[in-house]
Subunit: 336 residues, 2 copies
């Protein structure tokens, strides 16, 4: 008894009065079939409403399925969905489909999802890793699994990755602000567990030092994981004695919070603001940002997945460039 009621290749073959293999050949568009036979099989397939079972086909071919996996923090987040769009585009060019999943920044869930996708025999995996260690994947990597990390490298695992040019972006922002006369620049960002935060923070300290304003660490405010806390931190900064004249927001959630704080605090309109990450309608709001192409991040990651590196090579790391877009808030000068 068939488990599903669906017509099978065997059914088509029988109805057409040919062998299984011949039916297979026709339905796969292979050559060397008589036109008449071809037609008979086509008719039988149509009459039965036959649809080939790609799962069985993949299995028989013995290889991986035609699927790519993407483990993101949250697929509903526009940043990740832009990355997913980039991955999908490349996947499509290679005849692959994309399975998208969200781990909610939870290491345990990331690991579970990785396991499940691997069991599904995906062709490769793009992961935006949580801060947890990833050494448990070393064996998988050695076995030849195509694994690429996006936006940040995996802790404790030498694997291909593609990241944003964080240092370059932050340096550009700091230079922009100091060129406009700022010395007291605050850096407000996410939690220190987050790799991108640490990268950007380090670049900030370095750039400030280069600008002849060392000791900038004192202007660093971590812990703004959402717009609400960012707003509170910025408000605190601005209402304390000797407030900063400029804010460098480490990501778009912080930028949003900073924007709200600047609106609410008296004199906030005079405080300069540069945000890392562009966002929709930022031009209407006049917000100066450090922008980059998130879809490009996805495209490059997918390229790395589908393009095996030179055997036994060391991990490849690619960098997506950033550019500063002046729109107003970043060009405010400190009050004399």
């Amino acid at each position: 008894m068939r488990a599903t009621g669906r017509p099978t290749l065997a059914g088509v073959a029988e109805r057409a009065g040919v062998s299984l293999k011949t039916a297979s050949r026709v339905l796969n568009g292979e050559p060397n079939v008589a036109d008449g036979t071809r037609e008979k099989v086509r008719l039988a397939a149509a009459a039965l409403g036959f649809r080939r079972n790609a799962v069985a086909a993949d299995l028989a071919r013995g290889g991986a399925s035609r699927l790519l996996g993407f483990i993101s923090g949250d697929i509903a987040n526009p940043f990740y969905s832009a990355v997913a769009g980039g991955i999908e585009r490349v996947a499509r060019e290679h005849g692959l489909h994309l399975i998208t999943t969200s781990c909610e920044e939870d290491p345990a869930r990331e690991r579970l999802l990785t396991e499940e996708l691997l069991e599904r025999r995906v062709r490769g995996l793009v992961v935006t890793p949580t801060p947890a260690g990833h050494d448990h994947l070393a064996g998988e990597l050695a076995a030849g699994t195509r694994l690429v990390f996006a936006d940040r490298p995996a802790a404790g695992l030498a694997a291909d990755s593609v990241v944003i040019d964080n240092p370059g972006g932050v340096r550009a922002a700091v230079r922009h602000l100091t060129a406009h006369g700022h010395r007291r620049i605050a850096f407000v960002g996410d939690n220190p567990e987050v790799w991108t935060f640490r990268e950007r923070r380090a670049a900030f300290a370095g750039a400030m030092s280069d600008a002849g304003a060392p000791g900038a660490e004192r202007w660093v405010r971590p812990g703004a994981h959402d717009a609400g806390t960012a707003r509170a931190l910025v408000t605190d900064l601005l209402t304390a004695p000797e407030p900063p004249t400029a804010i460098l927001a480490e990501n778009n959630r912080v930028t949003e919070g900073a924007l709200r704080a600047l609106r609410a605090v008296p004199g906030g309109d005079d405080v300069a603001l540069v945000g890392f990450d562009d966002f929709p309608l930022a031009d209407l709001l006049g917000v100066t940002v450090v922008a980059y192409d998130a879809a490009e991040l996805g495209r490059r990651a997918a390229d790395l997945v589908v393009t095996p590196g030179p055997a036994a090579s060391s991990p490849r790391t690619e960098t997506v460039p950033t550019r500063l877009i002046p729109r107003g808030t970043g060009e405010r000068r400190p009050r004399a």
Copy 2:
């Protein structure tokens, strides 16, 4: 010769000195296995780095794979990604993974993707349909495939669907504007092929008529498929003789274009604006909108997919409510 170098269940069984079936039982956590045997198998599996092949397992079970498909217009679009997030959440509760694809609003591509996902034997499919006919899926539906349309119903096919409360949202917007004294209200929207446009446009005409301002069709401007054309259309409207005192933007791209037009046209600050669809930072921009929960749309669609309707029932249609959020632009009164 094995096609892949991966360890198989047979390999584990051999190494553990048990039969295939026993190894299977252990690795699937089935009961009735002696503790010692269980341990032996576990050890063998670990030593080999065994990972079960979920594809083969699904096939052997004869059913569909544990995958759900989502065919959207563009996964990089925040609206669709919010929907995807909702679908994924429900899918996860049912132990399913989500394959996301983008058809770029192209009917041929939508059809191709549908075929491919069906060949992959997905458990069910959520589709945001292009305007093309979908009668080719009638057989599939009859065969029991779980198919649900989201955001708009499929043309020419009686299938389950979940949509936004378009009439309610538009009526609320019109009532809001007329209550603030507006009579000359323009409705700017997408192309007439788009189902949501037609729904909203019809509701607009009805609501205007109800408000004692019939003949509103003359204030309707279709054809704004992107923010650029929307901006041009709104600029034309405002610079013509007897310009409208209020704009109802049919979707968020139109709202964006209208916003830019209002900024650029002299006196644009006095024109009221209500947009259908909420968007990030709309509050900072002070834009009054008709909002709804896109993730809820996805959740409900996924619910319909995993919950078979009463056999032979007529298609189920669900509606996601909207609500008007006043933020400033919608409360401007016409100049005396």
